[in-house]
């Protein structure tokens, strides 16, 4: 197949008109869900329930329900936190960075991946709070004039984290909502149900598609994209500071910020592809979320996966090159110590399997890409686990070495977070337009004036 790179690929296939697009996108909201939907929802919400029970037990009896111990004070809790924050990054990358890079193909998947960002940050935010053991005291992390007249320790990376993650959540939510306003207006004007109309009117705020408003709207969208871009890079950088600013061998490393950001995008794209593969099929959106989209996302997965692989090699090299015996020992211990199996799961899932995406055939094959992205998700979870647990369990003093063994509560909370995430995703697909209607209509063939005044170079 010959490709003409000088021309933009058609973004929407199958000659869909704007009305077709509206109908296709609004269909999940206009029709009653079928049995499969409820089966899926039952499954994910059962997982969620399991997580809720496990978290309640943790609150009641304390952190002792987990496998955490001395010296492994951080384990599943922070692993899950970093994992979910990482997942979140894909959405912002797609909606903000690709927007600034004028990648029009992002239009079809931006809404969905932004939603995943928000849900993933929700999942992530739970973990640092519950791992304190007394989450109802987490309010002290916010600088407010409290009875003890104390302020948070602003030079602590853990407090930076609070600021970074909460800012990220708020800005993502704003970005998402701003994008949703015109769609709410469209839904408001389409629906015949009174209740839906009330809800949509409420959220559309009375938007009128006025060009006097579009003018500011587009500017604001660009500004938000411009703000979200450094923000998303800063969030995982700050998360990596939690480790990098400590003096623990295996953590104390300057490669962490870029390494974490690449890993975050990698895992996030994998998660988005995992979900998109199902969603485009179930809601028959194959003409909007096309194979070209998946192809491009797989290319980014290949790129970031290779970057992560490079970081693994670099960590090994630097630990040898540093000449610090403990540093060297930790590297060896990661690859050949008691958690070696986890290390090799991580290396193979993250750096070896994605190499299949060098081949166009595999990039465009649903079963292959599905298996690879699921493996990437597994691998990226293990990456965080390996980073956290192997550094903690054996450091400078052999007399204080130890092992971490997870309990069933640990696993339940992990599965519960997946339950929460997918429950939210399922509810989202039925309640909000999964594709940005107002944007996708703007990129169909013939949507923009054929010869508007002035030239493109003006």
């Amino acid at each position: 197949m010959s490709l003409d790179y000088s021309k933009e690929l058609t973004l929407v296939q199958g000659n869909m008109t704007m009305a077709d697009l509206d109908n296709a996108i609004a269909k999940p909201m206009d029709t009653k869900p079928n049995k499969n939907y409820f089966i899926a929802l039952a499954f994910t919400s059962s997982l969620l329930l399991l997580g809720v029970i496990a978290v309640s037990l943790t609150f009641y009896y304390g952190i002792g329900e987990w496998g955490n111990n001395q010296p492994v004070g951080w384990a599943f809790d922070i692993t899950n936190f970093v994992f979910w924050v990482g997942i979140a990054h894909a959405g912002t990358l797609i909606s903000a960075i690709l927007y600034l890079l004028r990648q029009k193909w992002r239009t079809a998947i931006s809404r969905f991946s932004e939603a995943m960002t928000i849900f993933a940050v929700i999942c992530a935010g739970i973990f640092p709070i519950i791992h304190t053991g007394r989450p109802w005291l987490a309010g002290y992390l916010i600088p407010y004039p409290n009875a003890m007249q104390l302020w948070p320790n602003f030079v602590s990376p853990l407090v930076w984290d609070v600021f970074a993650v909460s800012t990220y959540f708020i800005v993502s939510l704003l970005f998402w909502y701003v994008g949703l306003i015109p769609d709410f207006a469209t839904l408001r004007d389409r629906t015949v149900s009174k209740i839906k109309k009330f809800i949509y009117s409420l959220f559309s705020l009375g938007w009128r598609h006025s060009n006097r408003d579009w003018r500011h709207y587009e500017k604001v969208y660009m500004i938000l994209a411009g703000l979200a871009t450094p923000l998303v890079l800063s969030v995982h950088t700050v998360v990596s500071f939690d480790f990098a600013t400590s003096v623990l061998p295996g953590w104390h490393s300057t490669i962490f910020p870029p390494y974490f950001v690449a890993g975050a995008i990698f895992s996030g794209f994998a998660m988005v592809v995992t979900a998109l593969v199902f969603m485009r099929k179930v809601f028959s959106l194959e003409n909007i979320i096309t194979m070209d989209h998946l192809d491009r996302m797989n290319k980014i997965i290949l790129l970031t996966g290779s970057m992560v692989g490079y970081a693994y090699l670099m960590e090994f090299f630097i630990s040898w090159y540093s000449g610090v015996p403990t540093e060297q020992y930790v590297a060896i211990n990661r690859a050949f110590g008691p958690y070696a199996w986890g290390y090799w799961v991580m290396v193979s899932c993250n750096s070896i399997f994605p190499q299949l995406f060098w081949f166009r055939r595999f990039r465009r094959s649903i079963p292959v890409m599905f298996i690879v992205v699921v493996l990437v998700n597994v691998g990226m979870w293990f990456e965080r686990f390996i980073i956290i647990v192997t550094s903690l369990h054996r450091d400078f003093l052999p007399s204080s070495w130890g092992m971490f063994y997870p309990t069933w509560v640990d696993f339940s909370i992990l599965f519960g977070s997946f339950g929460l995430f997918f429950t939210l995703v399922l509810l989202f697909t039925r309640t909000l337009p999964v594709v940005t209607m107002s944007e996708i209509k703007g990129v169909v063939e013939g949507a923009q004036p054929s010869h508007y005044e002035g030239d493109h170079n003006a």
Partner: protein, 388 residues
């Protein structure tokens, strides 16, 4: 259309994007000012066709971003350096590099919130669900896939017939009159509303009560008041004597505790010797303690003038020859051990303080029986003070 309704505008619908662009250009050219174009998505080139420049909302972002940065930076410095000094890892109170992450995040936060809120509330004047355009066929069409243009009645050039003619000339496929909606009236004291208010009031106060008075005190929110550990007075079946607390091993001496060797002996054969020298400091201490612990029964000067007025056997005078001739250690012994009706004061008064009291009693005794020579000694002292 009924005549009593007020006309808001005349709206025209177009089928294609090229038509709406040229319609917008011609409307601008015809001199209409109060008109608007409604399109389901932003159309490139429309701003210019309508004669509008760039949006200036970026300045809102800039201003609030800088404000957020300055605010949080100064705040961090103030809270660290002024409000409550926290020394962490030897960092200075103005730890600029360590302040950067939070300064950055807050900049973004302030800028983003201000931009979005500013756009929605100030620029768009939203929420506004009662605009005349809502719920019209026109709005439904432009929400979907049509393009619309409205000319408002408030425009200076507005003349209904002419405007309709003009819009037809532009190629509109449908023209619609838009009227102001009838004002709906809401009565303040509608029973439904009052009921709603009552429910909200009861629910809020109930929830607040339960949260503050009950929820805060159930496990696990009870600040670990109840723990499954043994406290001093609790029983336990672990040990034969069913006491949670273990008694100390026989002969255990508590830290800082020196056992008194003559305990319980009414007339010990020998007593301790006084380890103190009656300095001014010691006498002052002894005076204080004497007035606190001894004077109620023995009088302020140890003359046996009880202030207890018969509620307790009067303490005898401390100026008797017996006491004067007692060795210091004997008075110490009486304080420590008690004597007949007088209880032991060992629990209240430390060893050092007891010796200080003994010294002070000696002072009181000397003062009662002062000799001529004592005066001389005092004078000598004051003369020598002057000479120095």
């Amino acid at each position: 259309m009924p005549d009593n309704k007020k006309l808001h505008s005349v709206a025209a619908l177009f089928n294609s994007v090229d038509e709406i662009i040229s319609a917008a250009k011609k409307t601008t050219a015809a001199g209409y000012k109060k008109f608007d174009v409604n399109t389901p998505y932003p159309v490139h080139g429309m701003d210019r066709a309508m004669g509008m420049g760039q949006s200036k909302i970026g300045f809102v972002t800039l201003f609030f971003g800088l404000f957020g940065a300055a605010f949080i930076f100064l705040f961090m410095w103030w809270s660290f350096a002024v409000s409550y000094n926290i020394v962490v890892g030897g960092k200075p109170f103005l730890a600029v590099p360590a302040f950067i992450p939070i300064t950055f995040e807050t900049t973004v936060l302030f800028a983003a919130i201000a931009t979005v809120v500013g756009m929605l509330a100030v620029y768009f004047k939203l929420p506004n669900n009662s605009h005349p355009l809502h719920d019209t066929d026109y709005m439904k069409a432009v929400s979907g896939d049509k393009f619309g243009l409205v000319i408002e009645a408030e425009d200076k050039q507005f003349d209904k017939a002419k405007v309709i003619e003009f819009l037809k000339g532009l190629g509109a496929y449908k023209i619609e009159d838009i009227y102001y909606p009838e004002q709906e009236k809401f009565r303040m004291f509608e029973p439904k509303f009052l009921l709603f208010l009552a429910i909200v009031a009861v629910a809020t106060s109930g929830l607040t009560y339960v949260t503050l008075n009950k929820l805060m005190y159930i496990t696990p929110f009870d600040w670990m008041d109840f723990q499954s550990k043994l406290t001093a007075q609790k029983g336990s079946n672990m040990f034969a004597n069913h006491e949670g607390m273990r008694p100390p091993v026989e002969g255990t001496v508590a830290r800082g505790f020196i056992p008194y060797p003559y305990k319980g002996q009414p007339m010990p054969v020998e007593v301790l010797s006084n380890p103190t020298i009656p300095t001014k400091q010691i006498l002052e201490l002894g005076k204080g303690k004497f007035l606190t612990f001894c004077s109620p029964c023995h009088g302020n000067f140890g003359e046996g003038e009880s202030r207890l007025r018969g509620q307790f056997p009067v303490g005898p005078t401390l100026h008797s020859d017996k006491i004067i001739n007692y060795p210091d250690g004997m008075i110490y012994h009486i304080i420590t051990n008690g004597q007949n009706a007088m209880p032991s004061y060992a629990p209240q008064i430390t060893r050092h303080e007891r010796w200080a009291i003994v010294d002070y009693i000696r002072v009181l005794q000397r003062a009662q029986n002062a000799k001529e020579s004592d005066l001389k000694a005092v004078n000598k002292e004051s003369v020598s003070n002057v000479q120095n």
